[in-house]
Symmetry: C2
Subunit: 178 residues, 2 copies
């Protein structure tokens, strides 16, 4: 099996236990792979695994969440389509964002540049959609940041309050939320 086959389990473990809490024993158990095999697929160890998950996530964002932004239709419709994709990816709020998870790791420096870049590309993609609609670059950037803030805020509150779905529902109906 290719290393990509284990990405979903890795993602789930990092989400559930955090980076420091996702121990090799747990990873070994969840994947069914011995430590030797894990190091065969991921020579760089745990850090390598996290980066592999980020690779997949980066690709997923491009191919799933951001693709509606580049399609035709009203801005509102396109944002909604993105919201729907995110709603599914985060399972209605029951799953946290890996970016936020990795930024709480004790070795966050190993990921901070990468995660910042990924987040910025999300902000930029949303901003671009606004810009095409006639918003100024600055206002567009702000709209992109607002959207990202709302997404992350909803995810945190879902985690904390465990009342899950209805918070992210607003994301699905973004940008008309109130």
């Amino acid at each position: 099996m290719a290393r990509e086959a284990y990405i979903p389990q890795l993602l789930q473990l990092f989400r559930q236990y955090g980076y420091d809490g996702a121990t090799l024993s747990k990873i070994s158990e969840a994947t069914g792979l011995g430590k030797a095999s894990l190091y065969h697929y991921f020579p760089g160890g745990k850090e390598d695994m996290a980066h592999a998950v980020l690779n997949t996530l980066e690709h997923w964002f491009d191919a799933q969440a951001l693709v509606p932004l580049r399609q035709t239709g009203s801005l509102r419709e396109r944002l909604r389509a993105m919201g729907q994709k995110l709603y599914e990816a985060y399972e209605g709020g029951s799953q946290p964002c890996l970016y936020a998870i990795l930024m709480t790791a004790s070795t966050r420096d190993a990921f901070s540049d990468r995660v910042a870049q990924l987040m910025m590309s999300l902000v930029a993609a949303i901003a671009k959609a606004f810009e095409e609609e006639g918003y100024t670059p600055e206002a567009s950037r702000r709209k992109g940041e607002d959207a990202a803030m709302m997404i992350q805020g909803a995810l945190v509150l879902s985690q904390v309050l465990r009342t899950v779905a209805y918070l992210l529902e607003r994301l699905r109906n973004y940008p008309k939320s109130s």
Copy 2:
């Protein structure tokens, strides 16, 4: 020295390294206390320390951040005063929220009920201010959740993007952000 004297260092360590990453060695070094002494002040170990920090935070919220909400003045002014307090507490976004940090711990179950309750009290306090202004209970609750989401979202983005202050600036100017 009383155990309360060590709360600021503990808060800082949990924020910086996460719960799992804040090891007893680091705590010992930062506080200047031997590991054994830490168990004198916090018999319940690391979990005890985290709860002690939450105690302080709970008190701080009541005495600092939420007190403007109960004062006189326009709703807008009161929300702004709260925003200013939060802006200071999170050092303009350079510091994450401990609630979110603890929810990424591998032993998050030890804190999840407590953290949910603390977050709900924040939401409720903001909602109450809106309700007094004539908003319906449901709309008020929604406003409280929106504010909490915005706070948490701004904190996450500040952590991830490390562009810090200007995101939380919007919080300071809440609710007129755009």
